[in-house]
């Protein structure tokens, strides 16, 4: 199929994107901005599907929109909680009044800011036009890299080209990416989280029932995602996002899914398992074939599956721990999460 033209739906998607992006940047209340951003993620997910990128559509809807949105909301509510508590003492109230309501920005500054904005916008538009002029429309090189991928697909151990690139041809990127996730967890741990937060002890009955129903489905579906990633859109990241979403819903019902049955060392090991196994397999193949991360075609399929399963567990736990960190929930005695406020003495 040759590159298709844009249709009405693309036009609508484009308009929606600009409106939602504008709303997420301009709305006074940050809560509404975050809502607009979540909407933007969903609209963009449809655009991915339009562009034939179903893998990314899944990831965008789950991670870019869902998990990121949850992180932002959790963080906002923590800030609001803090300011609510703080406003009890008069000094703080005076300071708080200056920057109006929690989670809100102060009013946009006077003319200075607006002029700066206009100037910056003009410069940016010019720069973007220049980029656009020079980069698009580039002719698609004949065959080129996509052909190379398709030709070598049989040796990759999987039949979904995106998975083949992610976990075989450019496995280095993905290894480092899992490393970045791990680093974020470590960073979160180092930063700690401050105010002790009294989570509502009245879990929603309906939500709790929903959680009980939906959790097995999420687990099953994420296992399917990992498995199907070898030949169709899906894979570790999407699967991990589903599991993490399960954890977040569980948290909303008032249960910390990590609080039961998992010792701290176990949690730490599981958070780093994906990276560790990926790295050791890479080194193993290095010893075997003289090239880092060069999977042997015979065992590539199983290696990739092993990495994907462990990466799913690690990334899911990492995302959940990152969420807990953003929400400031002290996972008592869970070493990996943020440190409870009373322990850090602040």
């Amino acid at each position: 199929m040759d590159a298709a033209g844009t249709g009405i739906i693309d036009l609508l998607l484009g308009i929606l994107m600009v409106l939602l992006a504008g709303a997420s940047l301009l709305l006074q209340q940050l809560f509404r901005s975050v809502m607009a951003f979540i909407g933007l993620g969903l609209v963009v997910a449809v655009a991915w599907a339009r562009l034939g990128a179903v893998d990314i559509a899944l990831a965008e809807a789950m991670i870019g929109s869902g998990i990121t949105g949850a992180l932002l909301l959790a963080s906002l509510s923590r800030m609001a909680r803090y300011e609510g508590k703080k406003s009890v003492d008069p000094d703080a109230r005076a300071a708080g009044a200056a920057s109006n309501r929690p989670g809100n920005e102060g009013r946009a500054g006077p003319k200075g800011i607006r002029w700066r904005g206009v100037t910056a916008a003009a410069v940016l538009v010019a720069a973007m036009a220049l980029v656009f002029e020079n980069v698009f429309p580039l002719p698609a090189p004949d065959g080129g890299i996509p052909d190379l991928v398709i030709r070598n697909l049989p040796a990759s151990g999987v039949s979904n080209p995106v998975t083949a690139v992610l976990l075989n041809f450019r496995a280095y990127d993905t290894l480092l990416e899992i490393g970045v996730v791990l680093l974020a967890v470590l960073g979160m741990r180092a930063v700690g989280s401050h105010p002790q937060f009294d989570r509502s002890s009245h879990p929603e009955v309906v939500l709790a029932g929903f959680y009980r129903l939906v959790l097995p489905v999420l687990i099953l579906f994420s296992a399917y995602m990992v498995w199907v990633g070898a030949k169709d859109p899906g894979g570790a990241f999407q699967a991990a996002a589903l599991l993490a979403a399960g954890g977040i819903i569980g948290w909303m019902t008032g249960t910390n899914p990590l609080a039961r049955g998992l010792p701290d060392t176990g949690l730490r090991m599981m958070v780093s398992a994906g990276f560790a196994v990926f790295l050791s397999l890479g080194v193993l193949f290095w010893i075997q074939s003289g090239m880092f991360l060069a999977f042997a075609p015979v065992t590539a399929g199983w290696s990739i599956l092993a990495i994907e399963v462990l990466a799913t567990i690690s990334i899911a736990l990492s995302l959940f721990v990152l969420f807990l960190g953003s929400s400031g929930y002290p996972p008592s005695a869970r070493g990996i999460g943020p440190v409870p406020a009373d322990r850090e003495g602040g």
Binding site: D2, A3, G5, T6, D10, M17, V18, A21, S24, L25, L30, S33, V34, F37, L40, V44, W48, L51, G52, A53, I56, A59, E60, G64, T68, S75, Y82, A94, A98, S99, G109, P110, A120, L124, A127, M128, F132, V135, F136, L138, P139, A140, I145, V149, I150, V162, L166, D173, T174, E177, V181, A184, M188, V191, G192, S193, F237, I315, S326, G328
Partner: protein
């Protein structure tokens, strides 16, 4: 009629520019992090639009894989950024130096 890949590439550039503006001009750290994410979305859109030049049935899988990686890295960075923002928040550091004095000066009265 505009080519679909060109159209979405322009869209990606526009989102990137909007995000960059928000990043520079926004004052609340959460706003800045949001803006960074809008920039990321624009970048991803640009990359995937580029991949679609090969036709929608057989797009270039390499930008796709890069964008998938990017999405996960973005969410990690967002989480860490929010943790840092939460950390500096209580000290009122969320209103940066550009805060007009009439807004930050109340504490002195």
């Amino acid at each position: 009629m505009i080519d679909i890949s060109t159209g979405y590439a322009a869209m990606g550039l526009l989102l990137f520019a909007m995000g960059l503006l928000g990043l520079v001009l926004g004052r609340h750290p959460v706003r800045k992090i949001l803006a960074l994410n809008v920039m990321g979305t624009g970048t991803f859109l640009f990359l995937v639009a580029g991949a679609a030049r090969y036709g929608l049935a057989n797009p270039d899988p390499i930008p796709h894989a890069m964008v998938l990686t990017g999405i996960v890295v973005a969410v990690s960075a967002t989480a860490l950024g929010l943790a840092l923002a939460g950390r500096i928040h209580p000290s009122r550091a969320d209103t940066d130096a550009s805060t007009p004095p009439e807004e930050s000066g109340h504490g002195l009265d």
